[in-house]
């Protein structure tokens, strides 16, 4: 059952993207580790981490696309799920520092010693174990999404209202995580990580492995999302997006349908955050900034919402552009980003991938129509059977 569920997703374009991702997962680390720094194909470590970061962004955009593109739920809180996953990973990394912190406390992270805390709060227990942290990475965002979504969808909070309250949710979390007594490092967040699973987090080998892990995770999540979207459940999702009450009168529990997608999407965002944190080396409350969630929306929109490859392309395009732009003309990045928001909504509502595939489909249809016409010409004209 599961295999057929997954196999359904494998059409040509998805296979191609998965192949590219797997190729990258092998090629980039290899080019980084096995070539000399002066080799023309050498990929410096900072670029490995930078591309790794893009891949986690792509995963975040893919997660958003599942709910926005396919179910019409414009969540402005996905950065919050991303950040929660990131914090769960950050807590693991903090506990790995052990006695190597500036205060040398074997149990308490530096900021707790600084705040004069005597013991580890209960919610930090267990984060010294990787499996537990990994579980929390999906569980915490998933649970938040489940509870939030259960309330919101049950009472049929829709459209912009849902967007606004998801934004309020991430804003409340932002304020909460800024507080020192929440126990998550307040303003400064969690940083100064030393190692992950026993490997030095700064080492080129670890960076390369993290990149490979990001590419692999993205590939897996892409296959999974595709399978979801191409299943009958995926068709119901789209049905909810296009005609919610029709779906309801057909007997579907729209709130359950939405809740499942929302929760899965939040978990994927959490995983993205967990892969992001070790590659950038810090997580702080700034990640909850409402603006971040909106930026994810634009990555998805640029690539093409409601397409599976679009969000990946969009996230990489926009962030690549951002890296280049902020280095060349830092003053103008916000102008460019703002302009992008306006132009994409006005002129490219289907995004790059959506527009391209619509063009291809039109051409294909033209060709098929032409073929059919030719075929009909050769046959003796007969009235259609249906009449």
């Amino acid at each position: 059952m599961i295999t057929s569920f997954l196999l359904k997703s494998l059409d040509r374009s998805i296979i191609a993207v998965v192949a590219i991702l797997l190729g990258l997962a092998i090629a980039v680390p290899a080019l980084n580790l096995l070539t000399a720094p002066d080799h023309p194909l050498h990929v410096p470590t900072y670029l490995v981490s930078l591309f790794g970061k893009y891949l986690t962004y792509a995963l975040l955009a893919l997660a958003l696309d599942l709910v926005w593109g396919f179910c019409g739920i414009l969540s402005l809180g996905h950065a919050a799920f991303f950040a929660l996953g990131g914090y769960a990973m950050g807590m693991y990394l903090m506990r790995q520092i052990g006695a190597r912190g500036s205060y040398g406390n074997p149990l308490l992270p530096d900021f707790m010693v600084f705040l004069n805390w005597k013991e580890l709060p209960w919610f930090w227990q267990g984060f010294d174990m990787f499996w537990f942290a990994a579980l929390m990475v999906v569980l915490v965002p998933g649970l938040l999404a489940f509870v939030f979504g259960w309330f919101a969808f049950r009472s049929r909070v829709n459209g912009v209202y849902l967007s606004i309250i998801t934004q309020a949710m991430t804003y409340a979390l932002l304020l909460a995580f800024f507080r020192n007594d929440m126990g998550f490092g307040g303003n400064n967040g969690l940083t100064d990580f030393k190692d992950i699973l026993g490997f030095n987090i700064q080492a080129a080998g670890t960076r390369a492995a993290l990149f490979a892990a990001s590419a692999l995770t993205l590939a897996i999540c892409l296959v999974l999302t595709t399978a979801i979207v191409r299943s009958k459940y995926g068709k119901v999702l789209v049905a909810v997006r296009d005609a919610e009450s029709r779906t309801r009168f057909l007997g579907y529990r729209v709130e359950h349908i939405k809740l499942f997608a929302f929760t899965v999407s939040a978990m994927m965002a959490g995983i993205a955050g967990a892969l992001y944190v070790p590659q950038v080396g810090i997580i702080n409350p700034g990640e909850f900034e409402p603006g971040n969630s909106i930026e994810v929306v634009i990555w998805t929109a640029v690539g093409g919402r409601g397409t599976l490859i679009g969000p990946i392309v969009g996230a990489i395009l926009v962030n690549g552009g951002k890296s280049i732009f902020t280095a060349a003309f830092p003053e103008f990045w916000l102008f460019a980003l703002g302009g992008l928001f306006v132009l994409v909504t006005l002129f490219l509502p289907k995004g790059v991938v959506g527009t391209a595939s619509a063009y291809l489909a039109r051409r294909k249809a033209h060709r098929r129509a032409a073929d059919a016409e030719r075929a009909r010409d050769t046959l003796v004209a007969e009235p259609m059977a249906a009449e």
Binding site: D242, F249, G251, M384
Partner: protein
């Protein structure tokens, strides 16, 4: 009248008694009572604002009545259930404005409507069986859309969308079908075909048709209920109802 109704309750398919609802002081339904028997085809007429759509909203769980009883199959209280639950009990509804899933193909529209388990996980791992295929084929030919199965629903004409929606209702296999103005915006030929279609459907299930088109109702040739100001004005054959002076004054005469 109420007494006769309560006697008919056990064997009725749909039973409304004293249903009232108001929006911001406007009484949309005023102690509305009527009964639909199993296998009956019933037409409901009435002027705008008579409460026809509100009545459907109440039967399908979209609106809760302020007072009154709504029972399905004798003892299932519909006022306590929501849309999805009521749909799964076997009540299908067609909207006034044709509503189909425009970005799905005709086939997918029917597949979605098919009466199969509608939970998250059953749909996630659903596989189209041979039975389901045959059933969809059947419906496609019933609603005369076999040739267009792979087209997007958005590309259908208005009348074809109406039929597709009726087809989706059939796929749902309801015991009671509520059809809101099925021939609005249709050509005369399409209207006649729709009447045939509905009569065919009514052979196996109960159908309630809300319509303005008197010609169409005459063509159906069934019992007619006339609503006005939220309650039943007259009930009987089309000739009986259309000769009722109250009906003429309230509805036909204008």
């Amino acid at each position: 009248m109420n007494q006769t109704i309560s006697q008919t309750k056990p064997k009725s398919l749909l039973y409304l008694d004293g249903v009232s609802v108001s929006f911001d002081g406007f009484k949309a339904l005023n102690s509305l009572s009527f009964v639909i028997e199993p296998g009956e085809l019933r037409a409901i007429i009435g002027p705008n604002g008579a409460g026809k759509t509100t009545m459907m909203d109440i039967i399908t769980g979209k609106t809760r009545p302020d007072e009154g009883q709504v029972f399905f199959k004798g003892d299932i209280d519909l006022t306590q259930r929501d849309e999805a639950e009521i749909a799964n009990l076997g009540i299908g509804r067609k909207f006034q404005k044709p509503t189909v899933f425009e970005s799905h193909t005709i086939w997918d529209n029917l597949e979605l409507a098919l009466n199969r388990s509608r939970g998250v996980f059953p749909t996630l791992f659903y596989r189209l069986t041979a039975d389901d295929k045959t059933r969809i084929e059947e419906i496609l030919s019933t609603v005369r859309l076999s040739a267009r199965r792979d087209d997007l629903a958005a590309n259908l004409s208005h009348g074809q969308k109406q039929w597709l929606e009726i087809g989706m209702l059939l796929a749902q296999e309801p015991e009671l079908l509520l059809v809101d103005e099925p021939v609005a915006g249709m050509t005369d030929a399409e209207t006649a075909e729709t009447a045939v279609l509905l009569k065919e459907i009514a052979r196996t299930r109960s159908v309630v048709v809300v319509e303005h088109d008197m010609g169409f109702i005459r063509e159906l040739g069934v019992k007619v209920t006339c609503l006005a100001e939220g309650s039943v004005l007259a009930e009987g054959s089309i000739d009986f109802v259309s000769s009722d002076p109250k009906v003429i004054e309230n509805y036909l005469g204008r």
